[in-house]
Subunit: 160 residues, 2 copies
DNA sequence: TCATAATGCTATGTCACATAACAGTCAATC
DNA sequence: GATTGACTGTTATGTGACATAGCATTATGA
């Protein structure tokens, strides 16, 4: 074993999950809550929240994306993106444009203010992440992100 | 046709956060949601949910723990543990006993059935974890758990 | 003794998220 | 070329986890 926990006496035979603390999912949840609280308070300064930020970033990173595509990408329901888009639109952060060949879909494009807001919000979150990950080396941070992505991303040969 | 998320090439020097995908917190959230769904459906077979399982495990791992101690350990509010304890108690999984020196405190002890339920529930979750982590080596799983714990646990070596 | 704090608890609010249904549009099949 | 099914954006509504505020009781300590 590479690393040992400095916790109670563990029987080597007991290498299976025997305690709450052994569950990766427990630490996942605690770490995610910890992160969400930090992100939440960081984004308060920009008067927004995590999900609207993710939606805006989806638009700035993929101009012309549709709301349904954002929902599939972020794993959220179409119904729930409606008030979020309404809020971002009211703040003048993106524009809707009818698709040329499919009148059902609206293509979403960031405005100049939307680009600026995305950069600003991302900086706030990045500052929080630096604090949250301060006790991890750069290599550990990269490894952590890689392992997390491997958990939730589908098997299919997606992006590199 | 849906837009393909053609990503711009990443310059390795450009190590700063520029995209949603670069944020560890984003992957944390997605992985945690993924886990929570799996744990939820796994525990459905035992007619329970993640938080009651964590509470029961707190009792079996630390017999005589109080409800306030469980709340501090799990990071939850005292008000919210009340219906959970009521449910576990109704299922005969633990007993309350008055503290000898402090009449405010109830000490919680697992029953035989509580011990059995804890083992059974933990096995269900462990089975889910094996599936969730199937693409990670044993060393990677250990490393992931270590890095996650380093994120949310306070600086002092504290158990919880 | 009086102020402060902790425990277990009730009542209630909030907020993210899911479900169900809708009209309009598209595409494929018969 | 009607029809069937699927997809889009949307409204309305339910739900479930979680937080807040306050209570009576008990403990602590200046």
């Amino acid at each position: 074993m590479p690393l040992e926990k400095t916790q109670p006496e563990r029987n080597p035979e007991d290498a299976k999950f025997g305690r709450l603390d052994d569950l990766v999912g427990y630490h996942l949840r605690r770490a995610s809550i910890f992160d969400l609280q930090g992100v939440g308070s960081a984004l308060e300064r920009a008067n927004t929240r995590p999900v609207p930020m993710s939606v805006l970033l989806s638009i700035t990173e993929t101009p012309g994306i549709s709301s349904a595509e954002i929902c599939r990408s972020l794993g959220m329901q179409r119904a729930n993106i409606v008030p979020i888009l309404a809020e971002l639109e009211e703040r003048g952060l993106f524009l809707r444009e009818a698709d040329e060949s499919d009148q059902r879909v609206q293509r979403l494009f960031p405005t100049r203010r939307g680009e600026e807001a995305a950069t600003e919000w991302l900086a706030l979150v990045a500052e929080h992440e630096r604090s949250m990950l301060r006790r991890l080396t750069a290599a550990e941070q990269t490894e952590l992100r890689r392992l997390l992505a491997k958990i939730w991303q589908e098997d299919g040969p997606k992006q590199g």
